[in-house]
Structures are given as C-alpha cells and as structure tokens.
Symmetry: C2
Subunit: 222 residues, 2 copies
C-alpha cells in the first residue's frame, strides 16, 4: 500500500514511520511548520529519520496558524505550563482543529501523489484534553476524507489501541533511535523535563523499560 | 449565533453572507489564496461584500496547495476545460481534499475567535464530481469538527437543499449585487463564458428569472 505519513519528529510518529516502512511503501512523510514553539526542534528530527530510510520528507509552511489561532503552543501564545500532561492547564496548549487541518492537508497531498492512505500515530494515551487525537474524532474524520476523495484515501491509525509506553517498547525492538526525536513543547536547547510532554515522554520510557536517551534540563519529577 | 463564514466571492457564498448577516452575528468572513487561477479575481469580490456589511475579512495564504497539489484549477496545473459543469473533463479541476482543508481551518479560526459555528454555502447543484461539496462528505465532516473542538464548533450549510438558481433568486430578493461576484475558473479579465462554472453561472440566472449582470467574453451556449 502506498502511504503518506504524518511525521512530527516525536516518539509516536517516528515509531510509526519505521513500522509503516516495514509493512508498506511509504512514498512520503509530511510535517507542518505551524508556528509551534518547538517546530524548529522537531522538524530536523523528522527530516533525520526520513533521510535515514530514504523517504521523501515535505514540510508544509502554515504561518497563518501562528497569526490567527489562539494557543499557548504557538509562538504568538503565552508560556507553556509545567506539570503532568493530563493536567487541566495543559488545555491551553491545544491548537484549535489542528489535527483536522493536518489530516485534511495530508489527504489532499496523498491523493495528489497517488498514495492510497494517510498514516497517523494517534494512540490511547492521547488524553481527553486533546480531543482531536481520539477515535471519536478520527472515525468521522476518516469517513469524511474517504467520501471527500471519492474513496481514494484511507486514514490509518495503527497505534490507536496502544499507549505511549507500548509504542516505545515496540519501537525500541524495531531499533528506532529515540535520541533523534523531540517532544518538549518549550522548544529550548534541551528538553525542559518539566512540561507535560517531557513528563509523559520520560514516563513512557520508564514504563516501557527502555533507557531514556534524552538529556533533560531538570529531573525533579522522579 | 456567532458565525465565521467561508466566502469565496462567488454566487453561493456571497448570498450566504447576506443571509447569515440577516439572521446571525457574522464575526468574520474567511477566504483562501490557494493558488487557483481565479483567486486574484474572486478575493476582491469577497472583500467588497464584507466591507459593505462591515464584516472583518481574512484571507488565509496557502501557497503550498499550488506547490504540492495536482489540479487544473491551480496555476501549477493544465488548462481549464470548456463545456458543461457536469462534464467528466471538469473532474480535472477538483483540488484534492480542498474543502476538508478549508472547513478545518475555518473551524480552528472560528474557535480561536470565539465563534460558535462555521457557515458554508454548499448546495444540491454541487455535482457528483465535486465530492467534497456533498452531504455524504459534510455530515461526517461536521461530526469530526464538532468532536475535534469538544463541541465548540457547528458546521452550518443552510443551502444544502437548494439549487444554484434558487440561491440566486433568493439572493436577488435580498438585494445582493451579483455584479460584484466572480465564478470563472480561468481568472482572465472578463468571465470567459465557456468554462463549466461560467455555463453554470449563467444558467442559474436564466432559471431564476434574474437578469445576469455578468459581462462574458462569449455567449455561444445560448
């Protein structure tokens, strides 16, 4: 099956890249430069793994999201909150309709390239605050994209029943080099270790029993 | 209800602007500069009507669609075919997943602006070749956007049971100035009169019994 893969450069989508590359023909990986504070840190990671596997990597510039959308994840927004990923204050990092936008663009890009499916790394650990990572959203979205492309494009979400720790365990067995992935929403030189995504990242390695190769600024949560 | 309205500057969305302005609080109109051959002709029309009604008009730049998507509607594509709008050769003017992309961006923009709904002028005359104008697509899309925004954004499509002639008749009664609208896909100085959208435009005026104010290059189809 010919696949276009959404690749952020984080743990989940990077693992998905290797999994899809094993099972299908990944004709391209797709990233988005949408004004997130950490885009300049995660995009080179997406590029690194794509190059390693010989997969063509495209970055879609979407400056309008930073200009017109309200979210603390964006450069135009406030500070990234610290604490656990599930905490209510992480809600201010939601970018309205972000994944619907990314999946729609991926579907149009995929159809234009002659692909048959878009693959997306959503998983069970994508929490209630991130509504557009959940199956309640993804099921009608998949149907809309299928209908809207006259059946040309399917939306694959093979990790939807796995949690982040299971994904890391699976990826480690596949030999994924997680040193070249980025999670931290702050986008500073090193992973901060304090924001929700850093906490969740380190927890996933701990639960998976896989050594965490990440250098964090602080480790106060252990 | 606070509304963000998708406004192309064509007959349908312009009529919808006046209809929504009458019934709701239109807090913004949204257009997309996506590399279509006729964007430079239709966007000023969208701006003209927004200004007339005192509605804030935003144009989202989406050059990436022209760069990466395959369609003869785009500057990067081939010539616009002539003939009837329903003819098979018009299929090459479909831009893959275009409306899913526009609706998703509108939903995120709307949530960011504190709106409660996105209004979209799809109608029964949006033919089988344009799959992403039809209710089979719009119903799951509406559900995906509702779920993805945690119930914040509804997708309104009040013209979905009307045809283009009925819309023009309705708009004429509302006093919409159709001279300031643009349909032609070719995007030349005047409406060509020969492409599918020009044929459909003129037919709508004829069937509605409303004088067509458009100056066409040719009128060979009458």
């Amino acid at each position: 099956m010919k696949i276009i893969l959404l690749l952020s450069g984080g743990l989940d989508s990077t693992t998905l890249l290797y999994e899809m590359h094993r099972k299908h023909q990944v004709i391209g990986s797709l990233s988005f430069d949408y004004g997130a504070k950490h885009n300049h840190k995660e995009l080179p990671m997406a590029s690194w793994h794509s190059k390693k596997l010989g997969v063509s990597h495209t970055v879609i510039p979407m400056a309008f999201m930073n200009d017109f959308f309200k979210s603390d994840l964006l450069k135009s927004g406030g500070s990234i909150p610290e604490g656990h990923y599930e905490a209510a204050n992480m809600k201010q990092t939601v970018v309205p309709a972000r994944n619907a936008i990314m999946l729609s663009i991926a579907a149009g890009f995929a159809e234009s390239q002659g692909a048959e499916a878009v693959a997306y790394g959503a998983h069970t650990g994508d929490h209630t605050i991130y509504r557009d990572c959940r199956e309640e959203f993804l099921k009608p979205m998949a149907e809309a994209l299928r209908e809207g492309t006259d059946g040309a494009i399917e939306l694959l979400r093979p990790f939807i029943t796995m949690n982040k720790a299971a994904i890391v365990k699976y990826g480690a067995a596949l030999g994924v080099d997680y040193e070249h992935t980025w999670s931290c929403y702050k986008g500073e030189n090193l992973h901060c270790g304090s924001c929700g995504t850093c906490v969740e990242r380190h927890e996933a390695f701990l639960l998976a029993g896989v050594p965490d190769p990440t250098v964090y600024q602080v480790h106060h949560y252990e």
